[in-house]
């Protein structure tokens, strides 16, 4: 696969004002500014503090189960007949997705801040579960905002969070999905900023969140690099990851930004890009401000935010992390999209060929293999970030009919 290569030298975003090129920033009410400054100072100190870094590393190993495996998908590779496909197994993390990498980092910061109450928003429920998990482990109170629509389609995760001792607040406003849960979590934070620590689940929100979440997730890309080096003796050719807010993708991509490795972020095209029912923010959106940062946004001509759609609750968001917007504009990462149907088919294919049931979110990255693999040659190495496992999606898989399908 050959395309024009954009190579970045000395990639050092965000700048001191929290901008990735023209995207990012801190578009929040004054009430939150002192908390954001405190968080930035706390994080900057923790980043350089060997004690914090050791604690983080230790918890990622002994609690989250890192490093996660790198699995050669032999039968899937054969199926396509092009390059070799590897799967970065974030689905094997404790709680079943990459989200725990970030919540461990942030809960350690919360502990340092002395705040006893944790707030989180969640879409698919994976970030909610990962937050409830670390809050339980640290003995902190945890409140999770979740849209009513998502509560319906991710019921299993709701019960997991409850069992972990978190309080779930259903959000009935707007589209009743991740967008509205995020607004409500921010309102809680504005109202309880002195006592509460807000753990954002993706590389969205005001600075320093997009940077901080990226850094905590970049363990995925770092491990990928050394694992592929060990297995293949070289760099991978292409990296694939799904993009909702974009945390698993940036975690995979970030350590490779200044290399020659190609990267593709796969968005949710829902019922199709020509319909109004999709969540392909980078593909179809325009720059705007939502939830504290300037980034691509699905919006109408009046600047009102559109309701996104994806079969996958974790990708069902009309915004995207500001760093992805910047990487799109400079052409360092290619952003593509696949439909609900394509994602379901990919989930079925991986299950039957590799014995792994992927999360619906991750199935979007897998579905892109259909377009990508025919363009690859035997010497290409493709790594797909398998960001989560599919247990939570069984009701959706069952309803779609793929569980009854023959091989």
């Amino acid at each position: 696969m050959s395309k024009k290569k954009v190579k970045l030298h000395k990639y050092s975003f965000p700048d001191s004002r929290g901008y990735f090129g023209k995207y990012g920033g801190r578009f929040v009410p004054e009430t939150l500014m002192s908390a954001l400054r405190e968080l930035e100072e706390l994080y900057t100190a923790a980043k350089r503090d060997p004690v914090f870094q050791n604690e983080l590393k230790e918890m990622l190993q002994s609690f989250a189960g890192r490093p996660t495996a790198m699995t050669f998908a032999e039968r899937l590779s054969e199926h396509y007949g092009g390059g070799k496909i590897y799967l970065k197994r974030e689905d094997l993390c404790h709680t079943g997705a990459h989200k725990i990498n970030n919540t461990i980092g942030q809960i350690l910061l919360a502990k340092l801040s002395g705040k006893k109450r944790i707030i989180a928003e969640t879409g698919a429920g994976q970030h909610g579960v990962a937050t409830a998990t670390v809050a339980a482990k640290m003995g902190l109170q945890c409140v999770v905002y979740m849209g009513e629509e998502d509560i319906r389609r991710q019921e299993l995760n709701v019960h997991r969070m409850k069992m972990l001792g978190a309080e779930i607040v259903p959000v009935a406003s707007g589209s009743r999905t991740l967008k509205d849960a995020t607004s409500e979590a921010i309102r809680d934070w504005v109202s309880n900023v002195e006592s509460s620590f807000y753990i954002i689940g993706s590389v969205v929100g005001p600075h320093p969140y997009p940077m901080m979440v990226r850094d905590f997730q970049s363990v995925i890309g770092k491990e990928t690099r050394s694992q592929i080096k060990y297995l293949e003796g070289r760099e991978p050719s292409i990296l694939l990851a799904c993009v909702g807010g974009g945390s698993n993708a940036i975690g995979m991509f970030y350590p490779f930004l200044d290399s020659d490795v190609q990267m593709v972020g796969v968005e949710a095209a829902g019922c199709g890009l020509r319909t109004r029912k999709h969540a392909a923010t980078l593909t179809k959106g325009t720059p705007g401000v939502l939830h504290g940062s300037l980034s691509y946004l699905l919006q109408d001509v009046h600047g009102q935010v559109k309701v996104a759609h994806s079969i996958s609750a974790g990708l069902d968001y009309p915004g995207v992390g500001p760093e992805h917007s910047s990487l799109k504009d400079i052409g360092r990462v290619v952003y593509a999209s696949v439909t609900d149907r394509q994602a379901l088919d990919a989930a079925h294919l991986l299950s039957t060929l590799e014995g792994i049931i992927p999360a619906l979110e991750s199935a979007h990255a897998l579905a892109y293999l259909e377009q990508l693999m025919p363009k690859t040659s035997q010497k290409d190495i493709v790594v797909v970030n398998l960001s989560g496992r599919g247990d939570k999606d069984m009701p959706t898989y069952m309803a779609s009919g793929i569980t009854r399908r023959k091989k």
Binding site: R26, E30, A35, R187, V193, V289, Q299, Q304
Partner: protein, 262 residues
């Protein structure tokens, strides 16, 4: 001509009168009622009209203003419509009008075009709560170039040194948010010590206290050390209950008269 907002603040100061700003969500409960609501509020004694520009995702607003924004948007309210209403108000009233809203609709409209059209329509000031000091640079110049007041906010989490910087960057008045929270949400009684601190740090602008001012009693406590109040959610709630324009007018009058020094 001197900016209407500035003129009003000078008049209030000279007459030792506490100023009242009334917030109306533009287009709530229906677009047709806006002009009559503005008249009712003005007759009741409001000194400033604050028009809320509805946004789909109002993250700094409590349930009352969220709901009113939603209802207004469903009826097709746009920035162009709001500016056309300001022009109509200007046919018959010189009451200062400030627009309050979220950034994204303004970006979509084109910030430069928006501020100049607003100024021509007869708007006197702009309040953008998503624009803290750190993000001011991009828009402050445009606002100033169109001779609009750029009204900034301070909150209970703003440190004293920062209050005076914000005051210097602000014009028209300084918006003192009474509580760390969303609109309409004040949990505790009015913190008069905090308001006093804001007033003593703000050397440049008059200080108006807003968020959770629901009654004449709240207003009286708030203005003890400040120059006026902003009433929003309580008024929107009243309007939402379908109360007549006369009831709205007398609610405004109770607050305006109730908070004047005796």
């Amino acid at each position: 001509m001197m900016n209407r907002l500035r003129q009003t603040m000078i008049r209030c100061a000279a007459q030792k009168e506490k100023a009242l700003a009334c917030f109306l969500t533009a287009g709530y409960p229906t677009p047709a009622k806006l002009l009559s609501l503005v008249s009712a509020v003005e007759k009741g004694g409001a000194d400033i009209i604050e028009l809320g520009m509805p946004f789909s995702d109002p993250m700094a607003d409590g349930p009352v203003i969220q709901h009113s924004s939603h209802v207004a948007l469903k009826q097709g309210v746009t920035l162009d419509w709001i500016l056309s209403q300001v022009r109509l108000i200007r046919h018959r009233s010189e009451i200062p009008i400030v627009l309050m809203g979220y950034l994204n609709p303004i970006i979509a409209y084109g910030a430069e075009k928006f501020f100049s059209t607003a100024a021509l329509a007869g708007v006197d000031g702009i309040i953008l709560p998503e624009l803290p000091l750190e993000e001011q640079d991009r828009y402050a110049g445009l606002i100033k170039a169109n001779k609009l007041a750029n009204i900034l906010l301070v909150t209970p989490t703003t440190l004293p040194a920062r209050i005076s910087v914000i005051d210097k960057r602000s014009s028209g008045f300084l918006y003192c948010v009474s509580t760390a929270g969303v609109t309409g949400s004040r949990k505790n009684s009015i913190d008069t010590r905090y308001i006093k601190e804001v007033k003593s740090s703000a050397r440049k602008n008059p200080v108006l206290v807003g968020f959770g001012i629901r009654t004449a009693e709240d207003a009286r406590r708030a203005v003890h050390d400040a120059d006026g109040v902003i009433v929003g959610s309580a008024l929107i709630e009243l309007i939402g209950k379908g109360k007549s324009f006369t009831v709205v007018e007398s609610f405004v009058r109770r607050i305006k008269e109730g908070m004047q020094p005796r």
